[in-house]
């Protein structure tokens, strides 16, 4: 019984992605179901659309910068949390994790107001900052997880063998939390790359990331080249998801603790 329901639900989960991929090969000028014929021309067309190329470039750049920045910031925070007394740990933890708790609309509205105020509106920097705020908590979660799996006396063993603190860090700690670091970075990249909730506030005209571009087209007639773009992102993300599950175990990112 549960097996049958599970398979139905899995089919439901896969439905939009599969439908996107299937219809992207249609020969018709407007998307309909079932797709007519089979062609790759929409992929070719998409690759020639300057707005697509520009937004893809922008998304990749922003996601890369966000991944790097939030990995550094998140890792530093994790180390800090580990070394603080419980009395200081709790408020810092609350501060860093709260972007996950507040509704995104609240964050989005507050940020657009703030960036307008300081004159940083319509700047990719604003988008990057926004994304860093919402991706860093995930990095902290992952890296803290890896750190707490390390026995404390590993550091002591390193120190007792005569390594100064920074060498203990580089030679002993970092290699052991590599998985958490890479996973955190990769995850931050994906979260930034697919983000539309926050970007919709911050990515003003001339500064459209790929999801915002797609979002902007959603109320118009469905053009096949956009479907082709969507199906590319579906396939790309799927590959990344499998990679992530294999490296860090996705469940750890979403488990509702910390």
């Amino acid at each position: 019984m549960t097996r049958a329901i599970t398979y139905l639900v899995l089919a439901f989960i896969l439905l939009p992605g599969v439908v996107l991929i299937l219809t992207s090969f249609t020969e018709a000028r407007f998307v309909s179901f079932p797709p007519e014929g089979f062609t790759f021309k929409w992929y070719v067309l998409a690759a020639q659309k300057p707005e697509f190329i520009a937004s893809l470039k922008l998304s990749v750049i922003i996601a890369s910068v966000v991944a790097a920045a939030s990995t550094v910031l998140g890792t530093a925070t994790s180390f800090l949390l580990r070394s603080l007394s419980p009395g200081l740990q709790a408020p810092l933890q609350a501060l860093v994790m709260s972007p996950l708790v507040l509704p995104t609309v609240v964050i989005g509205i507050s940020m657009i107001q703030f960036f307008t105020l300081i004159g940083l509106v319509a700047s990719p920097v604003a988008v990057v900052i926004g994304h860093v705020i919402v991706t860093t908590p995930y990095v902290v979660r992952l890296v803290s997880d890896s750190l707490s799996a390390l026995p404390r006396n590993l550091e002591w063993a390193g120190s007792s063998l005569g390594a100064p603190d920074w060498r203990v860090l580089v030679l002993v700690i970092l290699p052991n939390i590599k998985v958490g670091l890479i996973g955190g970075g990769l995850f931050a990249f994906i979260m930034s790359f697919e983000n539309v909730t926050l970007s919709a506030f911050l990515a003003t005209p001339g500064l459209t990331t790929l999801p915002v571009l797609i979002f902007g087209y959603s109320d118009q007639a469905l053009e096949p080249w956009l479907v082709a773009v969507c199906s590319v992102t579906v396939l790309l993300t799927t590959a990344l998801v499998v990679l992530l599950e294999r490296t860090i175990g996705l469940q750890r990112v979403f488990s509702a603790k910390g």
């Binding site: 939009p16 996107l20 800090l80 509205i109």
Partner: protein, 297 residues
Amino acid sequence: MNKIVQKVAVAAPVCAVFLLFFVLPVALMLSASFERIDTLTLEVVERFTFAQYFKFLTDSFYLRILLNTLWISAGTTLVSLLVGYPVALHMSRLEGLSRQIILIIVLSPLLISHAVLNFGWLIVLNSNGLVNSTLRSAGLIQTPLPLLHTALAVILGLVHSHLPFIVLPIENALRSVRPEVSRAAVSLGANSFRLFRYVTLPLSIKGIVTGSVIVFSLSASSFVIPVVLGGVRVRTMASVAFEEVMLNLNAPFAAAVSLLLLAMTTIAVAALGWIGRKLQPPALVQQAAKPASEGAA
């Protein structure tokens, strides 16, 4: 001494980033929600007033949107539970690769952009989309059903993208129940329904509550999905707030709406937690208070 300097050197930038780019903006927004602006010139005409809150809470148009948001979120939570529980139950009995594959599929909506997923749903729900074409070729309908821009479409999209948040905590709770406990119940005469009713379900209430809280608050504050799948006909507080700040440039009103949304979800979440504690057997509440001694096993 050196250690303290080190810690401060790390703490300072971390705190600075979050205080400057997160706490300060939210604080500014809070204060902005008490302002009133001239909607033409966008000049602030009043510094401290409850006008925005008043406007929302006294206008039946907006109150209907509030109710709408409530029932859409509640509906999404309920449907997610009904759909997600069997999946969690099935997953909790699996090991290894088969579980990993299901896990990846279940989590996939979280990592694909909502904008992209919306596009998929548009193709499914369109007047010449998957559902309507299928029904038409089966001869069940002549004219396409208006599926898009309905509350149902919104709930469908929200359930889809928030399902993982309900499956994971429930599966987690179910997994911590030893298989022998179920066997004990069966050996004492429980058939599969009673096993579920008297053992499995009570032991997974914690997961149900955790999952429901997350799904409820996330779907209440989602606007990308309601904007696209609900269109102008189905509006929620989040989509109103989004439009107010982005289209009407009425930041104070948007701020007030989103803060009311926050207040509403907080109350709902507290209520859910309260119900959960009522439903949960007292032993498990006490156990939860203790540091999990066996949880790791």
